[in-house]
Symmetry: C2
Subunit: 362 residues, 2 copies
Amino acid sequence: MPGARESKDGWPTQRDVAQRAAVSTMTVTRVLRDDPRVLPATAERVRAAVAELGYRRNEIARSLRLASSTGLVGLVVTNLANPFYSRLALSVGSVVAEHGLKTVIGNTGQDLDNERSLVEDLVARRVDGIIAVPAGADQRHLAAAAAQDVPVVLASRPPVGFEADCVLVDDFGGARDATERLLAAGHRRIGFLGSPPAVYTGAERLRGYAAALEAAGVAPDDTYVRQEQQQTGEAARAAAELLALPTPPTALFCSNNRNTIGAFRAISAAGADTALAGFDDFELADALGLPLTLVAYDSDELGREAGRLLTGRMRAGSVRDETAEDTPPRRTVIPTSLVEYGVLPQGIWQVGERGEAGETDR
Amino acid sequence: MPGARESKDGWPTQRDVAQRAAVSTMTVTRVLRDDPRVLPATAERVRAAVAELGYRRNEIARSLRLASSTGLVGLVVTNLANPFYSRLALSVGSVVAEHGLKTVIGNTGQDLDNERSLVEDLVARRVDGIIAVPAGADQRHLAAAAAQDVPVVLASRPPVGFEADCVLVDDFGGARDATERLLAAGHRRIGFLGSPPAVYTGAERLRGYAAALEAAGVAPDDTYVRQEQQQTGEAARAAAELLALPTPPTALFCSNNRNTIGAFRAISAAGADTALAGFDDFELADALGLPLTLVAYDSDELGREAGRLLTGRMRAGSVRDETAEDTPPRRTVIPTSLVEYGVLPQGIWQVGERGEAGETDR
DNA sequence: CTGTTAGCGCGTTCAA
DNA sequence: TTGAACGCGCTAACAG
């Protein structure tokens, strides 16, 4: 004897509630919506039935009826284990939540096929919008989504091959500034460690590095440039190779936090006094016992702005039909600033100044 | 003249495809399912129509028809910015993906109301299962979900008030071991820094700490116990207070990485030589220039096991109806081990040994 | 204030 | 090998 409650698959439906309360399903709908045109007594009966049956309305059926408004936004990132992306997820979530939207997070693992199928799945699930950090330059799946009137916002990379809003970090300027700082300290042989050229931010930051060198009249030297490292281990090895050159660089600029940490380890291991600068601030950067120049920026603002751009598009798409449709794509750039960490332990009161996003409760 | 393509809201439907291919919707369904009983010629026409219209089947309608199987699992965590949780999300995702399932991540921000509404929303969206790290002891919303035959698995905390599978870390044993290590080094005044008592892991780790003290014949002293810190800043202040006592502790045990990092900062700032031990391994722990004993465990395994337990339940729930229904709840415990970090910089080749989950591509 | 009708997009059932 | 009818659970539009 199966313990089916009211309906076949165990879930009480609106009709079950209606029957129990001796009303029509429409009345149930109205009560659930707090429609004032329902007699208090009736509403009470319905509410009682809802409670007794443990009824929850089926959002699937609901959003089918309501035609494409699931109240979900899709967020596509390459690696959630990177604090940058998990914070992005949080800040995006906080903004869209203000609009009553939930976030579905997809992780591509930097794989284009994953990314494509993920985006297609989100579209098939009728998310109301997508925020993506695309892995590469092939963004046809995103273009397709945008072409189907799904608002798309790119974070940290610009759209290629189609039009969409995006939020960027000042990759070029930040890298240039940091490199200039090294030059100003007298360095002339400055190495570069970064991600593969195909990664937009890596390429931009390399440009900034090169621009600073050129402006200072320092000839670029490919011997000092390594751009295939995505993990700290790879970065440490690449840095060690540079340090082992006959004429090693006296300073290193790293285009992201993985490379900075790897370079730090290589420098420590070698006991070298190579100067170090890098893109991205990170926790404990001030505690490494090495002078360190970092390019910092408000990564939470990046996520919030992405959320704002997206909700703006969603609003536009639904309210009007002609004018707002073709608002030109917006592009926001998050500014960067340089942060210097020293050899001495920082006072504890400085702790709160940098983002304390990593609160725990474990 | 609105540029509606085929259907009113811009989305081509199965019927649009059917019309264009001059077949019925049923044939379209069959082609999409690669049903061999369709004439190759017909199938080709349909595929062409699909391509030309850019048709994607509507997963919303599909899962409505298919009655509660959305292919989605919900993951509820308290703070995604904590690496522990973002890695949990990744490892859970990797396991459920093998079963063709996607993950919906919800962040509660440690707020019970958020958690409740999040879980209810997931249930209303008919996720096929839920993995949760509940914020507190009030788990009625999870119990309700479980009662409605939504498989629920708890991670890092046990269920209270209902039955469910769960994966735990050996909180008690790990904390006891670390404290014993401090005792073995001769320490007798050992402080404790941790999260609020309401947090299960915090309470268990305090128990482990206390058990070790008792076994060593050291009388517990509440003066040395602070358990309200959730962020590094709070932890640093609490640690500083302990260090400023007339008879300060000579060692500190911290029940999680936030407290360990905070304590580290306080010790550095004070220039003290207080010994430090803590629960959770974390990146750069080896680079702090302080001796450090950490309780490490395989956090990825925790997520994978949670995923396995959940998919196991989902399978059971759908295949049979009588026997497997009441399989007793399973409880897995992830073992811990102690890791020692020293004052000297570690060689770079040691880098790869600890999890390199934080690869970046930025 | 409440109920009836109709249909969102898809897939199952049964018939042709 | 293909199609027509029906319904999943819900709600907009119109009665009454």
